[in-house]
Symmetry: C2
Amino acid sequence: MKTNSSIVVKKFGGTSVGSVERIENVAERVMADQKLGQMPLIVASAMSGETNRLVKMANELDPYYRGPAYDMLLASGEQVSISLLAMALEKRGVKAVPLLAHQVGIQTDTIFSKARIVSIDNKKLLSYCSSGVIPIVAGFQGVTNGNQITTLGRGGSDTTAVAVAAALGAEQCEIYTDVPAVFSADPRLVPKARELKSISFEEMMEMASLGSKVLHFRSVEIAAKYNIKIHLRSSFEKREGTWILPEVQMLENPVVSSVTHDASTVVMKLYPVPEGVGFLSDLFTELAEKNIVVDIITQSLGDRGQRLNFSIHEEDLPQTEIIVKKHVKDASQLEIMRDMSKISVIGVGMKNHPGVAARFFQIFKAQDAKVHLVTTSDIKISAVIDKDNLKRLAEALHKEFDLDA
Amino acid sequence: MKTNSSIVVKKFGGTSVGSVERIENVAERVMADQKLGQMPLIVASAMSGETNRLVKMANELDPYYRGPAYDMLLASGEQVSISLLAMALEKRGVKAVPLLAHQVGIQTDTIFSKARIVSIDNKKLLSYCSSGVIPIVAGFQGVTNGNQITTLGRGGSDTTAVAVAAALGAEQCEIYTDVPAVFSADPRLVPKARELKSISFEEMMEMASLGSKVLHFRSVEIAAKYNIKIHLRSSFEKREGTWILPEVQMLENPVVSSVTHDASTVVMKLYPVPEGVGFLSDLFTELAEKNIVVDIITQSLGDRGQRLNFSIHEEDLPQTEIIVKKHVKDASQLEIMRDMSKISVIGVGMKNHPGVAARFFQIFKAQDAKVHLVTTSDIKISAVIDKDNLKRLAEALHKEFDLDA
């Protein structure tokens, strides 16, 4: 009797299942792993381009509607990819069963389009695994306890995969994607960026929340909570990629492990801030209700009252602008600074190495680049800068912290 | 309190929901009907082209696989169209809820790709209808009692619609399609074909089983059983189309109401038939198990033994050939006649008017056209002919039986 440590959850992203040919490759790969003694369980995203095609139709109809029908629409994409994957395995004589969220029992809350997983029923999945059938679970989707279909937000298939691994007591979760590893910086921005052999959960969470799109934040959060090793690797190559691990298992702890950026940031400047104790609380509560992530917030005193600066993602600007203008008397109190970027250095080693902030700001001085907003935690420093300076600063920081390949 | 007679099931086919614009038209139309006091319930097919797109991918992977994964794949098409329809209604302030088979409780047997509906749970649907919410049910799909997704075969959405109407005790079911009515013959073949105001269930069933694709056979069968009037009409025009009714409600009972054809027929000729009492039973049992419809069968005595001829649909030829060859000793016993068509005249009036067969065969004689196989019932006569003669014969029969517009 094999234990659950033989179960390896394998998540394949949109590009990995982007065509019939690629689906056949996935089937070959999974079949080979099964022959080596693994009990594979697949979680798949929609074929690349499919979710965009569906979103486009929905937006043509009604760009503002988000609700049950929208989630049901989007969830159809994964239904297609898991069915085709099952056929590709069956064709090879491998027993496989495609499973939708309602069939697995992936229960979520009722926040459509950004639902969170509440529980996963592992009985059915375990029984398939132990009888040699490969379950192929639709990523990105769940059901409410009223049996309505929900979706977990962009990148939600990563979360499905890690949550399924947690529910099954699996030790590792492989995330197959179109990049071979997590890099020390985005190679398109920093050509000398190098692949990381391993990185801690904490660092990966910072990277995800600071703009790196390689893994969904919540998937790493769940992995950390349930101690599930994530192995991020290419679906087109056999070699290993990056292991995302508890800090104690890390092979190396450099001071800084990566330079991360978010190219599309907007700074909202409010001055003077309306008086009254409830203003900040009312404003940020309303922004939170609309799921707008307010990033760096600073407040200081000016001649005519308080200054409030905060940064948001560019895509949230239209909604944020409407909300902020409701809360101020005069539109002239609001200044919007577009074309900003956020750049960050991340590393668990920072905890034990003072002076990282000093080296960080020396680079800005040397590059004559203005810093608009700053925030720090014990394992990262972030600054909002002019987008024009992004590449130059990223390369300089990457070099400064000994990350160049 | 309205009775169920206010519920009108409206089925929209693939072309009726073939684009976002057409989906908006459907929403407008349904909304207008609701304002007039109807309780509409929608059943929708996949957007036109979508099912073909999915079948193409499946065939690229494995043209022979038919099973649970294939049905799950195909069922995704209706999920897209019902979600978009719900959004189009919600946008107009009309409450609507898209419902998949597992959410409605459309239970079927386990014959994947050709499943039959066993039961429909009407509680949820009735409660939506009576509270002013328009249910939008995915056509073509069901679930087994093990919660696996099944599909009902091509045209199965018609069956879903009529079965839902029956389950709800509705009196009528509107089938919106891309043709304005049932015609006395296919207008592409017989330009003088005219629209029928009404036609009996019995005639419509004969038409459906004899090759007319305007309505799914089983949908008419269910309508007849539960006495549900079907109104087939165009989704692009407001005017009435054709009513499909019990014979007693018919306005007119012409001797022949339509000339129907199936352009793609194949005749299998077996001679000499292998001896032994079990041969025919074994052969036809195996064909039936593969869901191959054997149409006309004739048997006669030749010099070297029995002659057996039977006709099948062209698409079933590859599988039929394999099966027949398993049952004979020598492949030379089998002759396959391709490029055949079947032509039929149908009319409930035939029951009371002798001499229809005589007039039918006089046309063949006048046109010097060979008849390969013949079969009759009390309301139809069918003949298998050379495909080359099809158009000429269809026009001549249409004229002979006073159907020309």
